[in-house]
Symmetry: D2
Subunit: 373 residues, 4 copies
Amino acid sequence: MSRPKLNVAMIGYQFMGRAHSNAWRQVARFFDDAPYEPVLKVICGRNAAEVEKAAERFGFEQSATSWEEVVARPDIDVVDICTPGNAHLPMVLGAAAAGKTILCEKPLANSVDEAQQMKDAVEKAGVLHMLCHNYRRAPAVQLAKRFIDEGRIGRIHHYRGTYLQDWIVDPEFPRVWRLEKAKAGSGALGDIGSHSLDLARFLVGEVQEVSGLLKTFIDERPLEDGSGTGVVDVDDAALALVRFENGAIGSVEGTRFAPGRKNYNRFEINGSTGSLVFDLERMNELECYEEQGPDSGFRTILATDEAHRYVRAWWPPGHIIGYEHTFTHTVLDLLIGLAEGSQPKPDFGDGLQNQMVLDAIERSAASRTWERV
Amino acid sequence: MSRPKLNVAMIGYQFMGRAHSNAWRQVARFFDDAPYEPVLKVICGRNAAEVEKAAERFGFEQSATSWEEVVARPDIDVVDICTPGNAHLPMVLGAAAAGKTILCEKPLANSVDEAQQMKDAVEKAGVLHMLCHNYRRAPAVQLAKRFIDEGRIGRIHHYRGTYLQDWIVDPEFPRVWRLEKAKAGSGALGDIGSHSLDLARFLVGEVQEVSGLLKTFIDERPLEDGSGTGVVDVDDAALALVRFENGAIGSVEGTRFAPGRKNYNRFEINGSTGSLVFDLERMNELECYEEQGPDSGFRTILATDEAHRYVRAWWPPGHIIGYEHTFTHTVLDLLIGLAEGSQPKPDFGDGLQNQMVLDAIERSAASRTWERV
Amino acid sequence: MSRPKLNVAMIGYQFMGRAHSNAWRQVARFFDDAPYEPVLKVICGRNAAEVEKAAERFGFEQSATSWEEVVARPDIDVVDICTPGNAHLPMVLGAAAAGKTILCEKPLANSVDEAQQMKDAVEKAGVLHMLCHNYRRAPAVQLAKRFIDEGRIGRIHHYRGTYLQDWIVDPEFPRVWRLEKAKAGSGALGDIGSHSLDLARFLVGEVQEVSGLLKTFIDERPLEDGSGTGVVDVDDAALALVRFENGAIGSVEGTRFAPGRKNYNRFEINGSTGSLVFDLERMNELECYEEQGPDSGFRTILATDEAHRYVRAWWPPGHIIGYEHTFTHTVLDLLIGLAEGSQPKPDFGDGLQNQMVLDAIERSAASRTWERV
Amino acid sequence: MSRPKLNVAMIGYQFMGRAHSNAWRQVARFFDDAPYEPVLKVICGRNAAEVEKAAERFGFEQSATSWEEVVARPDIDVVDICTPGNAHLPMVLGAAAAGKTILCEKPLANSVDEAQQMKDAVEKAGVLHMLCHNYRRAPAVQLAKRFIDEGRIGRIHHYRGTYLQDWIVDPEFPRVWRLEKAKAGSGALGDIGSHSLDLARFLVGEVQEVSGLLKTFIDERPLEDGSGTGVVDVDDAALALVRFENGAIGSVEGTRFAPGRKNYNRFEINGSTGSLVFDLERMNELECYEEQGPDSGFRTILATDEAHRYVRAWWPPGHIIGYEHTFTHTVLDLLIGLAEGSQPKPDFGDGLQNQMVLDAIERSAASRTWERV
């Protein structure tokens, strides 16, 4: 277990900074097969006082305020980008130019054009790059993937993805940055619908065309500083019908207007011989139906056995894991990819592809017709 | 309880004949407030031997083979039409012309034009007419309606309706009449999607426009008589995005290709202050979320209290009722409407409106654009 | 289907009278293989006006006030006893002496001695006799029985039975007859604990010894007539540890003090290779676990397939049945037993055996030691 | 956040060592209000090579093989004992004598006598002591406690606790140390039944008397070294009826013979106006019933809101936490107790009291009568 060290620089220190830093701290504590010992070298943000506090809180050795300097430091091996999507492009270009391994929080970018630039940059630089769509790495989602790959539900006919939340259903909830198109790119579509879509691509296949609907229920909200109201120019809810290249059909939905649904990222997949259901609020479970005559039924598999992917590092059966573990698994696979010289998925190519589907949904919502990806 | 008698004639004796005849037999046995004592006078079908057996099985006094004669009999008060949709039009016209009260199984017709003729006929004749969309009358669905009407979930933003079954997912399942457009009109769309749609109209409001997708996964199937294969010219699955007149948005789906889903007629409704979820496979339950701070949660209401609509006639709390009871409730309300001289819902106007939405979905699936109802 | 007729006399017309009369009316309407056509000949009760109303409501040809005369009538084939347990003995003795087939509502009696007399009487008379423990005949319970008989859960180690209700948790709920020992025999123990126990005997085997606990939380309640308060001298809750003859162990509980549990008759059975769970509030479902490695899980079988016992007569998969159907199934098996000359179960021997276990629980609660049955 | 450091020594490095060490590492990374920064100073075990590996894996600065030396080191502030129960006594006596704060994994001891000695020792030494019954600190369990304390379910009538696992149901599973009385003290009783019991004491109150049943289904198992078979002299399953001092009644059960139940630590509590249900396999949820008329129902509260205890440090609503977080919460409260000079619960007094109830269950199983605690 005497592992080579790997110096990590993180840009951003809010919600995602907290989740990612935990992953870097935990991965070698639990995974004996993690090929590197990450060192939390430096965390970077614009507010010096705040980022210094974050360094102590998250366990980084240093803090910094210039990402340009950080990504250029010769002692840094990995740059982990945890800022909002509109800030990713220059950071990725800078880190790629400096030859760093890059982990980037989703969405890769706020536009297809930016995503394309980023993909081109990392490929040209020949650096390992990974997009953090962490839900792919819940053990129960991995189990769904295995079942599909093993043919246990047959040919896929239907995907039904909904990501429901309720945190802005109150009209008095303020106009935060996530409700501004200039910063967030889109609303529920890019924030949560994109997760549902990424799982669709991971589990079912590439999307060929879409029919989209975007809706903003509350057009104007109080500003956070109390100085009046501001316009909401992103979608509160996004729905799409989708046709996959392999003939499957489905629907994808993201909304922040579903009271009682806190983090209800649910999918149901129907194949020719079985079905699978997952819900992030019960993320240790996979519901599975395999057709075996009249005594068949949906069974709830608790994906907490050491045979289930990633569980080997954690606890005995029935001892569940939580949300942040999916980030630890992401980091683990990045480390393994690095050690083996292979490019893990999802990568920036996936980020581009996801962005293209989101773009098609937006185009379709405007044109009122089906649009190809 | 000495109630006037009401003579019932039924046309059709298959699945729906069984469900409807049970309703006529049971309604006065359980509902003390049923204002009439139905008499199962005559059941009508084309095969004399079969319909005679059905008469004995279902408890009818007589059997007959000419529906034209039956609807014209002066001793008949109510004509209950349980045949497939393509046969409804002449029967309704005949019964209306004879001044009979009419109960008609859904779909009212296989086309908007036919539905319009039927609505015109009963209105012109001034007879009481009712469409049997029985799921409206599950006590838990009535409870959902009451919660909405009382404003307990606020303004409705989302409707998410799926009716999933799995009975034809096997490619060797034969090409039965329900898979022929000439007889069935459409596939999953009209058969089960129409239920999901009728519930949407009942609970949310009128549909303004739709974007539809129809899919046939298996184009050809063995014929029932073993003489080869036949073409499937109806949809195996139907999906639609919908915009309601009141600003709500939603989706409606019907499929027969969802392994493990036997009769999964589920809806979720999200309002501005709460949510409701119903699943026909657990039809005595309504899940309800009412926003009340951090200790809120979806609660499962067992709609088996005497305070819940229709339950007064049945059993104590927690003693559940079954599928066929929804038909008994339908017949009850027809009897009450008759006694009070009022027209119960859903009526043939609803049948027409439902047909217009189904028609818009079909048009949209062909045009690949949104279509207005 | 031209079946011989069978004349039924019913004694009692309350809750159970309503459930049993429905069974007699429905059995031949749905089961083509029911070998008789029951005729609801006469219903009997002490209050002439009330019983006459019941006759009309339930569909009996006649009403009567003397059970002694009714059980002696030569035109009567079956006597169905739906009165409280303390009234059963003379009726059974009378009906047996008259050579009638007897269906008796549970509990067979309020004491072991009475139960023994009744068993002796029917055996001496050589008449078919059946005890109405209707929950044995829910299709999902039958499925549990089949799984056990097929060895699919292996050797049984544990039975965990709870029957929870909440209807008297309010101290202001009046002192009804079910709370008087003289009439009801016992409280939750005999009323609902007995169901849990009967299922234990049906599914696991005979009980060898018990350790019991009886508890009365509210000792005094308002009288129904408003004339003051009365003593509650039965148990509000009854718990027992049990050892079965075959080495399994378990627990049985009945309580009327479990808020939110309306009719929660639940059992869990753990065998050496699998487990089964049933809950009467979702009586169409059986949860089943079969050990098959890390991807195993509890699966929910919807016992609504025509392959499931009794379902052949009802509806397609996923169309659930209700509480009263279990009585129809009981009557069906009585008719089949009568036609085939065989004695169906549970019979009066089961009634006696059940009473002996209840008696042991009461003795144990008093002696504070384990007691043999 | 510049916090004083606190040097931790841990004895034992297996399953519990892994869980506890994670808690010490994480507490100050997530809880800004943790008053100390724990330093993982030294980990101690008998096998030098193994404990050295554990030090690296878990992030300890040093490893050691003599617990006697470790507990005496002047630089150590806290001794965390993670060894099996039969080894606790001397370690606690040693650490107490050295004036250390002590965290001890449950069970405190394998006998009442040992537990009493340990309680006496820490009280005499005046050191802070805490017993690690971690499940008390799941946010959903804390929510149950708050609801009870606020009177929201009224006076408690029933506690129903079951802790079900299945890991030794296979007779070929070897005779590990947990199946030897000399090492483990008891079987399911002390290992998991004790958790159910501790929750009962935490949520309902002190136990007055018990009627117990212990059962060993498999008396002999293969030895781990393949050298033959060994006797199992502990219980495979333990059941008890309990009477609480406050008049509530209940049952407590632990078994390792429940196929499909991996870590099913479930309780149901029925009060006079409501009920609560918890299941460790879905440990982020609490089911709650509050009586509010016919539209009441059990609601599932996702205890992931920042208002729920301990959640402030973790993630937004609906982002669940896992098993190990309960240890982090335990350590947090130990740190707060230390800073505030107050003794947190559960402490060694609870350990003694728990042991006395387990002892009464064993006595009762032997005497076949109720036994007082």
